[in-house]
């Protein structure tokens, strides 16, 4: 290491003044949650409600010959059924975002005429109890005629089996991104390293609470209320309302506590539309709880991506000038949120590196597997894994030191803000410093000594680095780089802050928290702005489309709460503050500049005895306002919409500001591989985070822990594996092993703060994490195997014991050269 790093988990000096912001206060959410008093969607009850069970396809690909619901309807306690034919009559296909051919795909709430993945819902039944609904579902007779099955993304390109006749091809979207001058970079390179193939596997965050909703229909008004755990209701409504042939305002989404989401609760619109239809048809509230096996087979997988024909241009001194790759993204049976994943990765085009010449030929295809949806690290994680694999494979191939080669190629702190070849701006960060801290935390200096010790115990020691980015605050305008006709751009989020009659400060948010502690951090921001304690600030739980503030892109996704959510809270609190000051000035017959807000009071700066408590201000406006002059009409109730500024994307050059903030995470780990079994044990692990100003350092650290655990699970175990018939072999937690407390090593964390110059509070979104753990474990396993004399490259993002063992048997010769 070139300089002695400062190890710190405490905040660094920043330019922002900190009061409550920056303190790890106890979370406001905790008291109810530790007592089992949270309210999750499945806790909501309504008189006369019916329970819904879906009939699901046992085939990955088949024609539906017939569906007979007679026997189900005869069962006592069954309220009714719905099939794909009814859905096709009463709804329109969901809006598709792609251009042709993918844009021609017809996606309905239930399978119409054909099933395209195992577990796809073909009918639904509603009954008096959960058990009865399942009994009735078993009585629904569906006749299928199996069709040839397609489970491989590369195979899909041949179009020998085509999933969607309306599209005529399995390709959803295809495009070439060419930034800088790849051909020239290649011509000028001293080495061109070629990698035949890398594969990023299918997995998902599998939130512990599955999806579901209770839906009520008001016949008199034609309005639906959806008590649910949808994490992006604004966009959910954009899909659902046109399909239901109704207006957006007819759909009210209500969320309360949500048991994790991680992106996996964005594509719930097909099931929710079925519930809306059933609630209307049966004239009663209907409730659906997804079971774990359903979640795994038919809801939300992360995008699977294969990288082919990778070429990397490298100078003699180890400088990498660019790369070229062909990417095939497998989105499963329906695009749903796709093809957005075909562009989202471009937010982090060069990863942490100063590569100026990058060419990506990107194709997304459909296969007979579960549809994908955004999944923690959505689309960027796959691409960042590619960049880290490139660095390690190049370093190994050319005999370069993995630390030095990173430091040589990282974007430097002094280059910030740094514009990438495709027009994104890395706002701040110091990757080399984060790396130094991570190295120190895992004792990099003593590595060779530990390697010898491991060898003496018959183990292969490996060291790995994962440097990654968590880009936050999505610019929906990037969708126009995929389809110039799309009418989406920018982003927004709303909040309302009001002062109520007895001095209560009440905040409503458009966001949909699932564990990120929005009630707490919003209260911290408001408390600092209006001068009170966070305890005095009541932040309403969850989202309510009708009665809380919300905006078109409301939701919790894309690592953006710190920017858009808190930006809206800050804006609304400042409006309220200004009005409280004006009101106090009027009452105290002073100038606004003489007023300060502090300790829950408005008072004269020069004479703190002359004070009005918040209760006084609230009471005057709400209950005792006759003496106010007619021209002064304070509301003490302010809504603010945070609208980040991105500018307009260039659809020709495919450039633009696709996002605004870039949190850094650098992970380092030490593993020991058992050469006899292929088992990997993580013996040391550190994650260093830089997300700018930390509103609540403990929450930030918690997100780092969580993202790391997801990455460890994905890197070693979690894998959605299909057989040739399209049967998911890891359809529940029995075969899909998620890490438990004994699987996760003690995690060390470090942090620095490089405040964002563009974010309202200098704070960057950071919840997704960027998959740093996957990159770093792959890196470490490669190092371990090489130290054991196995000349292999880690080519897959998932490396359970069997794959590691197979690598040691030399079955990866074709992978890389």
């Amino acid at each position: 290491m070139t300089e002695a790093p400062t190890i710190t988990t405490e905040q660094q000096e920043t330019t922002l003044q900190k009061g409550w912001i920056g303190q790890s206060i106890p979370r406001k959410e905790d008291k109810r949650l530790v007592q089992g008093q949270g309210t999750f969607f499945d806790d909501v009850r309504r008189h006369g409600m019916g329970y819904v069970h879906f009939v699901r396809s046992p085939y990955a690909h088949a024609r539906i010959v017939s569906i007979d619901v007679t026997a189900a309807l005869e069962l006592e306690g069954v309220y009714g059924t719905i099939t794909g034919d009814e859905v096709a009559i009463h709804t329109d296909p969901f809006f598709e975002m792609s251009v042709e051919p993918g844009g021609n795909i017809k996606d309905y709430a239930l399978a119409v005429g054909r099933v395209r993945h195992m577990g796809e819902p073909v009918a639904a039944v509603c009954a008096a109890t959960r058990e009865l609904a399942r009994d009735a579902a078993e009585l629904i007779e569906v006749e299928y005629e199996p069709l040839p099955v397609l489970v491989d993304g590369e195979e899909a390109l041949k179009d020998e089996v085509v999933l969607h006749d309306d599209a005529g091809s399995n390709v959803v979207w295809q495009g070439v991104f060419d930034w800088g001058d790849w051909e020239q970079a290649k011509a000028e390179a001293d080495h061109v390293v070629k990698i035949d193939r890398l594969h990023f596997h299918r997995f998902s965050s599998t939130p512990l609470e599955c999806a579901g909703a209770l839906v009520e229909y008001d016949k008199g008004t034609g309005e639906w209320t959806i008590h649910c755990n949808h994490q992006m209701p604004g966009v959910g409504a954009i899909w659902m309302a046109p399909a239901l042939r109704t207006g957006i305002d007819k759909l009210r989404f209500v969320t309360q506590d949500i048991g994790g989401a991680f992106g996996n609760k964005i594509c719930l619109h097909p099931q929710f539309v079925v519930l809306c239809l059933l609630a209307r048809k049966l004239g009663r509230p209907v409730q659906w709880t997804e079971w774990r096996t359903d979640q795994h087979t038919a809801n939300a997988h992360g995008n699977e991506r294969t990288f082919l024909d990778i070429e990397v241009a490298v100078k003699a001194d180890g400088e990498m000038t660019g790369f070229s790759v062909r990417a095939i993204d497998d989105c499963g049976a329906f695009p749903r949120y796709e093809p957005l994943g075909c562009i989202i990765w471009a937010q982090v085009t060069p990863g942490c590196y100063a590569w100026r010449n990058i060419r990506v030929d990107f194709t997304q295809v459909c296969t007979n597997k579960s549809p994908v949806s955004p999944n923690r690290g959505y689309s960027r994680m796959q691409h960042l894994w590619l960049t880290e694999r490139i660095v390690d494979i190049v370093a190994t191939g050319l005999g370069l030191d993995p630390v030095e080669v990173r430091k040589r190629n990282y974007v430097k702190a002094e280059q910030m803000p740094y514009e990438t070849p495709n027009g994104c701006v890395y706002d701040s960060g110091d990757y080399a410093r984060c790396l130094d801290i991570a190295l120190d935390l895992v004792g990099y200096d003593s590595l060779e000594e530990r390697r010898r010790d491991a060898e003496s115990r018959g183990k292969l020691l490996g060291f790995g680095i994962g440097s990654t980015l968590d880009s936050g605050t999505n610019n929906f305008g990037q969708s126009q780089l995929l389809n110039p006709d799309l009418q989406f751009s920018g982003n927004n989020e709303a909040a309302t802050v009001k002062l109520d009659i007895f001095g209560e400060v009440v905040v409503t948010l458009g966001t949909v928290p699932q564990g990120q502690g929005h009630e707490t951090t919003a209260a911290q921001v408001v408390a600092d702005i209006i001068g009170c304690s966070p305890e005095q600030v009541n932040v309403r739980r969850g989202h309510d489309t009708w009665f809380n503030s919300s905006a078109g892109f409301s939701g919790t996704y894309a690592s953006q709460f710190a920017f858009t959510g808190l930006g809206a809270v800050k804006g609304a609190a400042e409006l309220l503050r200004d009005e409280m000051i004006q009101l106090a000035a009027a009452v105290l017959q002073a100038e606004p500049a003489q007023i300060e807000l502090a300790d829950g009071q408005a008072r004269l700066k020069d004479n703190p005895e002359a004070a009005i408590p918040f209760m006084g201000l609230g009471a005057i406006v709400n209950a005792n306002n006759a003496f106010l002059p007619p021209e002064f009409n304070p509301t003490l109730n302010h809504r603010y919409v945070c609208r980040p500024h991105f500018g307009v994307v260039d659809t020709e050059a495919k450039t633009g500001q696709l996002t605004l903030t870039y949190a850094t995470q650098v992970h380092a780990c030490v593993v020991e591989v058992d050469p006899d079994t292929g088992l990997t044990e993580i013996v040391d692990y550190a994650a260093v985070d830089d997300c700018g100003v930390r509103i609540h350092p403990q929450i930030v650290e918690g997100q780092v822990h969580g993202a790391t655990a997801h990455a460890i699970g994905a890197a070693l175990h979690e894998n959605f594996v299909y057989d040739e018939e399209g049967t998911l072999l890891t359809a529940n937690f029995y075969d899909y092993h998620v890490p438990h407390a004994m699987d996760i090593p003690p995690l060390k964390t470090g942090a620095i703060e490089s405040p964002s110059p563009v974010a309202p509070l200098g704070a960057k979104g950071m919840g997704e994490g960027g998959g740093g753990g996957i990159h770093c474990i792959c890196s470490a396993i490669q190092d371990a195997l090489r130290s054991g004399g196995h000349a292999v490259y880690v080519y897959d993002s998932c490396n359970p014991s069997h794959r590691v063992w197979e690598m040691m048997q030399g079955s990866t010769a074709e992978v890389s050269r």
């Binding site: 790890s24 949650l33 530790v34 089992g36 806790d43 048991g259 774990r292 502690g517 929450i699 438990h740």
Partner: protein, 160 residues
């Protein structure tokens, strides 16, 4: 409890100190009896294979997964759920420690975690980190990576 097979049974359980008697179908899982029939919704369901532990409760003082028991099997038993921990509204040291150490994010696994950890602390009041990880192996959390949960339980044992 009768030795004659039947599809519906009237069962009597003591739950969080209260006696309850109710007729249930033999096929009803204990977790659904607790959540749907008794309205105690603090006990959660996170999987369908008995792996996740979100439904962990105490039956006669032992931690068990209420999705792997039928309600009729609990006839005559004494049950404690998360709602029974802070019975007087006063958080237990463990509940307080969970908050202090940020051992919960979404809070969905938390009731099960608390019940497993409470059972551990009742048997072993000052557990080591290893003891805690071993005792919580049957409880999946997808938010925290377990770091702060383990810390919170160890700290509760130390009275911190």
């Amino acid at each position: 409890m009768s030795a004659t097979p039947a599809r519906d049974r009237t069962i009597a359980v003591e739950i969080n100190g209260e006696q309850v008697e109710l007729e249930v179908p033999a096929r009803r899982l204990l977790v659904h009896f607790i959540r749907d029939d008794l309205g105690l919704t603090g006990t959660h369901v996170g999987c369908d294979t008995g792996n996740c532990g979100a439904c962990t409760i105490h039956v006669d003082g032992e931690a068990v997964k209420s999705c792997m028991l039928l309600a009729v099997q609990a006839d005559g038993a004494s049950i404690r759920t998360v709602e029974g921990l802070a019975a007087d509204g006063e958080l237990t040291a463990l509940q307080q420690s969970f908050s202090t150490h940020h051992a919960l994010q979404c809070g969905y696994c938390t009731p099960g975690m608390l019940m497993s950890a409470t059972a551990l602390l009742e048997r072993n009041p000052r557990p080591s980190e290893e003891d805690v990880r071993y005792a919580l192996q049957g409880n999946i959390c997808r938010c925290t990576g377990y770091v702060n949960i383990v810390e919170a339980v160890v700290a509760a044992g130390k009275g911190a």
